[in-house]
Structure formats: C-alpha cells, structure tokens
Amino acid sequence: MSTVNVSHQVLYSLKNVKKHYPIKGGIFKTVKNHVKAVDGISLDIYKGETLGVVGESGCGKSTLGRTILGLESATEGEMVFKGENISTKSQRQLKPFKREMQMIFQDPYASLNPKQQIGQAIEEALIIHTDLSSAERREKVVQLLKEVGLKEEHYERYPHEFSGGQRQRIGIARAIAINPSFIVCDEPVSALDVSVQAQVIMLLEDLQKKHGLTYLFVSHDLGVVRHLCDRVLVMYLGQMVELAPVERLYENPLHPYTEALISAIPRPVVGQRRERIRLKGDLPSPADPPAGCAFHTRCPLATELCRAERPEWREVEEGHFAACHYR
C-alpha cells in the first residue's frame, strides 16, 4: 500500500459535482427528463493517495472519472484542481490541466488506435504537450516502454500484435508520458486475466511510488480496491454513500449498502461463513431515483423517514463519512 506517500495536501477538490444527461423526446426534441449519472459529489482528493471508487454497474463511477478529467462537462458544481477552479474553463483553457491529468482505460483492446504503431500512440502525448524533437521523443518513448516492462523493438508494432496485459501497459505508458500528477484508472484490470491483473497492479504501484502519482481508481473488484487503495468512496445511483479509509471500510462498514457489498466478497477461509446480505430488487433508474434516501427501495433497514428525507452526509467518526439516518 502506498500510505507512506499520502500527504494532507489537497490536490483536487470537488464541491457538489453533478453530471446530468438530458433525455430528449417528442417531435421537437424537448428535454423530458435527466439521467442523473453523477448527483452531488463533494470530496477532497489528497496528493499521493489512491482513492478507490466502487459501486455496481451504472452507479456513475466511470462518469465521475470522466467528468473530473473534463472529458464531460459538469452540469453543476465546482472542481478545484491545484487551487484553480477548472469547471468553468473552456476546452482550450483546459489544455494545460490535461497535461496534469490522465486516464487509463478499462478495455485495452478499444483504447488503442488499431491503425497506429504503439510507439506513435505513446509519442502522440509528447507531440501535443512538448516541443521535443523527433529524436528526443523517440528516446523518451523507448524509455517509457522499458519503464512499463516492454522492449524497444515493440515500437513499430501494431496493437493487434499484443496481449491484453501488454496493451494495458501501452495505455499506461501513454498516460504517464507527459508526467501527469493525477491519473483516473477506469477499471484498468477488470478486462484482464487474474495473473496479468496482479502484474498490472504492481506496475501501477511502482509508478505511483516513483512519480508520486495520485490515483482515482474506479473498480467493482473489492479485492483489488482493498489491496491498492488508501481510501474508498462507495457510490449508489450517482450519490455518495460512504467514504472511509480502506481498512475501516472493510472492517466496519456503516452504510447498509456497503455492508451488502462487502458481504458479497468471496472468502477463501473454510468453515468461517459470514452472513451474505442479499439485496432485493433491481437498481432503480438513475433518471428517476427514489425520493428520500436513494437506497430505501432495497435497504433492509428502511423506514418512513428514509422514504421521506434524504439522509445527510456526515462524518460519523474521524475520516469516515456515511449517508444514512441510522448509522
């Protein structure tokens, strides 16, 4: 774990960030409703930490990652990166910030241009953001290839000639090419074999130590998150459910949703069984989230209060936040 590097210097601060997608319908394409993909996220990301974001499919964790990178414009809210509010900046003004923030994608097959040599794919970042000559760029790319465990002779190869793990390494090399300080990892290992997953995770850890990187690690694999992250944010229907340092979240989950998620982790210990909490019903539509607490339709503890009132986001114990009336 990379706890050693974590400082208490805020790198990226989010205040009530929302991303709503309009649903258009009818003859005149009027806006009928909104899909509330990200609905009010407020948190500080500290320099050097790995913040995990977990939740089931469709809870808005990937959208959150894209929004804070400026790939999607936020509908509402304030995003302060290194002291500057970037939520109001245009794409052109964002360019210097894009140098600081990068992304590693989920699907290593779809995230590389099939018609481009991988050396050129990595070089692209250098062409956009630096004034290096082509010889210097080539040298830097070769160095990056070696850093992620590939070889110089791979430079002229095309993506289809590589395995999934190798492609993910190429994606990582492209992301770190311009020395960013913040990287959003959007489920970077969920498309890989378990043995390859371990290698890629170790690579991410090494790079973090070496370059002092801050990660936002989006995942649905709670085992990987426990291994890699310092703090974990649990999301449900675009909202924050719980945020805590990783061990405290796994040992003492406060929110019933987190409890259910954690109880679903397979345990390798024979004989020791923990009650598995099974959630009933489906995930409600993010276009029409339930009133009150968004989780009340599936919550075993739900009462009238939950149906009527949205629970407050509060710090239950130091550094451990949750949104539940009863915890």
């Binding site: 360019k95 590389l112 378990v194 085992g223």
Partner: protein
C-alpha cells in the same frame, strides 16, 4: 491478492510482424474474378502509360484511302474507322483518357466527400446543414446533374471530370459520415481527447485511417461508374470532342456505320465493358477482403 507471488515480469514475446496490406492482398487474390479484374486494370494502366509505344499509328491522323478497313487488315489489326484512323491506336489512347477521367473524378469526389463526411460525422451542429446539402445533390438523377454542370461549365473533358466528381460527393459523404459516427465512439478517440489532442489531429490521424476500408471499396466501384459515365456523356456529345479518341465518342461516331462496319462500335464497346467489369469485381472482392468477418475459405 496474488501480487506478491508474481514478482517476475511475465511478458509474452509480441507476435511476428505482419503487414496488413499483404494480408488483404492475399485474401483478394483468392477470388478468381478479382484476379481477372486486376489483370485487366493493370493492362489498362500499362497501355495508358506507354500508349505511344503500343500505338502503331497517330490516333487522330486521317487517311481516307484507308477508311473502314475491317479488323485483321495488314498493318491495322483492329481495322480503321470512317476517316481511316487506326482503331487499335485510338483504343490505346482512349485507355489513357478513361483512366485519367476515372482517377481524376474519383480523387476530386473523394476529396469533397471525405471532407463533408468527416465534418458532418464529427460535429453534430454541422451534421444537419451538410446532410441537407447532400440530400439536395441526391435529388438530381446522376446523368442529369452531370449534364447540368457541363451546360454551365461548357463541354470539355476536364468539365466532365468535375461534373462526375460532384456527382460522387453525396454518396461518398454519406459513407464517410456513417463510418465516422461509429469510429468516434471508440475508446481510443476518448483517449486522444483526454491527452488534449485537437479536433483536426483526431479527425486526420485517428478517425480517417479507421474509416478507410469502405472508402477504398467506394473508390474502386466509383472508378467503373466514372468511366461509364464519361463514355455516356461523350456519346451524348457532352464530353470529349472529336477527334479525341475517347471510347464513348468513338461509339457515338460509329453509330452511322453500324451496319457496314460494326467493329467501329463493337471494339470500344468491349473495351468499356471489360474495364467497367474489372473495377466492379475488384471492388466487390476488396469489400470482402477488407471485412475480417468474412470467411473466404468457403
């Protein structure tokens, strides 16, 4: 996590380098019709490029004493036309013209069509405007549109090229737009955006190369149409003017002698047919070869 156990880097050697063009070509020549088509196209290109070497006579030199000789005559193996011009020499120089018109019209049409297609596929705001303009071009029947353009610009071979290229633009723009719409949703385009790449860079370096397959097929097929349309326009008297040895114009000139010297229309007719056939089958075969989902073994 098994991370601790996997301390040694396990990296497979990358597969042997393979050239994509070579692979497509291998798939292409499995199709026998395509091989015949390719031979015809290569033959036309060779004839066109080295026309002076192949032609035994000046294609426009008249000698009325040798008029309407049938094919097989000594010194004029394909015979002569009503002005005594050598048919073989005219055919060879005609190959030059049809190749020029084909390549020129397709290149111009692609330039316009690709630009419009890229813009309308990528920018949603331009999409409506460009596509309505394209619809406008689609509303005219092809030959009519070409005739209209020639009526405005005047009759000449160059204007035929322009007319046919304008006629190719709407189809090409539609094809490119469709490909752009699917390619721009790919994650590698998002990756480029997150790197801060400009739109021009994304369009030219990342979207266009991934839209090439349908464009190549369209260009090949359109060559056949362009050659055929030039012949049609010349036949109607709107394209190449006499004494230019254009195949369509040769047929047009030969109509009056159809019963006495049928070779005057049959020979250029066969030439047009062969070339159009060749480009069509090669286009078909290319479409199959470029589609990795097709199983060519069966």
């Amino acid at each position: 996590m098994p991370a601790e156990t996997a301390t040694k880097e396990l990296i497979l050697p990358a597969k042997k380098k393979e050239w994509e063009i070579g692979r497509i070509f291998k798939r292409l020549i499995k199709n026998k019709a395509a091989v015949i088509g390719l031979i015809i196209i290569i033959l036309q290109i060779v004839l066109a490029v080295f026309a002076p070497a192949f032609a035994a006579h000046n294609p426009v030199k008249q000698d009325l004493s040798l008029a309407e000789l049938p094919p097989g005559t000594d010194g004029h193996w394909l015979g002569t036309d009503n002005y005594g011009r050598d048919m073989w020499s005219r055919l060879v120089y005609g190959a030059r013209i049809s190749l020029f018109v084909g390549i020129g019209a397709v290149a111009l049409g692609l330039a316009g069509g690709i630009t419009l297609g890229l813009l309308s596929g990528y920018y949603r705001k331009l999409d409506g405007i460009i596509m309505r303009f394209v619809d406008l071009l689609f509303a005219f029947p092809g030959i009519l549109l070409a005739m209209l353009i020639i009526a405005i610009l005047g009759t000449s071979l160059l204007n035929v090229v322009i007319a046919i290229s304008i006629w190719s633009i709407p189809t090409c723009a539609r094809i490119v737009r469709g490909s752009v719409l699917s390619v721009k949703k790919q994650e590698y385009i998002l990756a480029m955006k997150s790197l801060g790449a400009s739109d021009t860079r994304i369009l030219i370096k990342h979207i266009l190369p991934n839209c090439m397959a349908p464009i190549i097929v369209f260009a090949t097929m359109r060559m056949a149409t362009a050659i055929l349309s030039t012949a049609s326009l010349s036949f109607l008297g709107l394209g190449a003017q006499p004494p230019t040895p254009e195949w369509g114009a040769m047929i047009s000139a030969g109509q009056d002698f159809m019963w006495t010297s049928p070779h005057m229309i049959v020979i250029p007719g066969i030439a047009i047919m062969c070339v159009v056939f060749a480009f069509n089958v090669v286009g078909d075969a290319l479409r199959d070869a470029l589609d990795p989902g097709m199983n060519l073994e069966n």
